[in-house]
């Protein structure tokens, strides 16, 4: 896995236990663990996977690749070409023990699970 580009239609919100992603296209929520949140924010701030690999070492490289593949698989990111070495920003230093980053889809997309009095069969004019 080289680099990835985050889907601009995904909203990320940090929360105490990690964070959530909301895909505005699919109306699907995803939960991120703390490491996943850190990685996402690093990429959102212009960081790179290469920078993270360099900072975290080989032990984390496999986890990062798996996480990136998961993001791509869920439509939360797309594959991107590797950056020139000089353009690779420095990754934040690793803190504490390494937990593999995870992203977990939550149930079904919102549009399919809401059975609310305010969710009529007739489309809402908006």
């Amino acid at each position: 896995m080289s680099e990835i580009t985050l889907n601009p239609d995904v909203v990320c919100s940090p929360l105490p236990e990690g964070g959530v992603l909301l895909d505005l296209d699919t109306k699907q929520y995803f939960a991120l663990n703390r490491t996943g949140m850190t990685v996402w924010q690093h990429l959102e701030d212009g960081g790179s996977l290469a920078g993270l690999r360099a900072s975290l070492g080989e032990a984390a490289a496999g986890d990062l690749d798996a996480f990136a593949a998961c993001l791509i698989g869920h439509g939360l990111a797309t594959q991107a070409p590797a950056r020139e070495p000089g353009a690779v920003p420095t990754a934040p230093p690793a803190q504490g023990p390494w937990d593999a980053p995870t992203v977990t889809p939550h149930g079904r997309p919102l549009a399919q699970v809401i059975l609310s009095p305010f969710d009529p069969t007739v489309p809402i004019p908006e």
Partner: protein, 332 residues
């Protein structure tokens, strides 16, 4: 009656066109055989003793639906249609048009499949003004803690809230609230002044026996309509700041249990009970509001056992003890 909430008056200009558009769409879909909405609407209108179901259906079929806001109130069934400020909705079959006979607070729709035609455009209008519906009941304890009980139909929202009210809490809302930003925080406002009780819930509360004499909502729903003030002496439907979240799940054992859940879990459960929008800007604002609520209010999952019905007092005490120590203060 004057509107007392500034954010409600914001929605007035575009509400009319939203309802008109919704009615046009509903009528067209029904005429094309793509929707049974009008049939449902006709069924609901049967409770209006001035017309027959097929009359309403006929109105919808010909798409000659018009509506007007008029002054004055004609009560059809207060327990069933009462809204927060006492407005009601009627249909004028003789004139072959739907008349929303409302007082000034046109935002309080009655509970029924009217939501297809009335509350849906209201919800759309609200959302564009930053107010988002949430499927929840709410009560307040004497210490100022306002807990919202959030969940799908049948999850036990009303039963849980009723147990707490029976033990002395104050009704703040049942079934539907509007969430909206207020400064750095948020407020919740009850939409309705009534609720619908399942027969087993009524049976567990002897003082509510009067409700069993009322007709069921319809052929497939045995619930009975009641005014909140009939279910408890203390009712306060003014806007409030939620300080704790409860997500009930029914279980078959006797004793209920409470489990704190993560902010992420609470947010995802909130999102499931707040209908989403097709408009990305609106969806983003809704998400941000729910994040604010999830961050602010600690949350618990309630495995609601039979003690909710059999021993509401002890259930309420255990729940209040669990929640009150951790809930954010009302003034936070």
């Amino acid at each position: 009656m004057l509107l007392t909430l500034p954010w409600l008056s914001l929605a007035l200009p575009d509400l009319t066109s939203a309802i008109e558009e919704q009615m046009r769409r509903a009528a067209a879909k029904f005429a094309a055989g793509e929707s049974r909405t009008a049939v449902h609407l006709g069924g609901e209108l049967a409770c209006d003793d001035r017309g027959a179901p097929d009359a309403a259906e006929d109105v919808m079929r010909h798409a000659n639906v018009s509506f007007q806001f008029v002054s004055g109130i004609e009560t059809v069934d207060e327990a069933r249609y009462a809204t927060r400020d006492g407005s009601v909705v009627c249909v004028d079959h003789a004139a072959r048009h739907v008349s929303f006979r409302l007082n000034r607070a046109v935002f309080d729709a009655p509970y029924s499949t009217w939501t297809d035609l009335f509350a849906a455009p209201l919800a759309a209008t609200w959302r564009h003004h930053g107010c988002f519906p949430l499927h929840a009941a709410a009560v307040a304890f004497d210490d100022g803690t306002s807990v919202m009980v959030v969940g799908a139909s049948g999850s036990g929202k009303t039963t849980t809230a009723l147990a707490l009210v029976t033990a002395g809490a104050t009704w703040r809302a049942d079934d539907k609230v509007l969430l909206h930003h207020a400064g750095a925080g948020l407020l919740a406002t009850s939409l309705y002044a009534n609720t619908n009780l399942a027969p087993q819930t009524i049976a567990a509360h002897p003082h509510l026996g009067f409700a069993l004499a009322r007709p069921p909502l319809n052929e497939t729903n045995e619930k009975r309509a009641c005014l909140l003030r009939e279910l408890g002496q203390r009712v306060d439907l003014s806007p409030f700041a939620p300080s704790a979240l409860l997500f009930p799940i029914r279980v078959t054992r006797h004793t209920s249990s409470f489990r704190p859940i993560s902010t992420i879990d609470a947010l995802l459960r909130l999102a499931e009970q707040s209908p989403t929008s097709g408009d990305r800007t609106v969806m983003r604002r809704q998400h941000e509001l729910l994040v604010t609520l999830a961050r602010r209010a600690p949350a618990w999952e309630i495995e609601a056992g039979s003690d909710v019905l059999i021993a509401p007092g002890s259930f309420a005490r255990a729940l209040r003890d669990a929640v009150s120590h951790h809930a954010v203060s009302a003034s936070a």
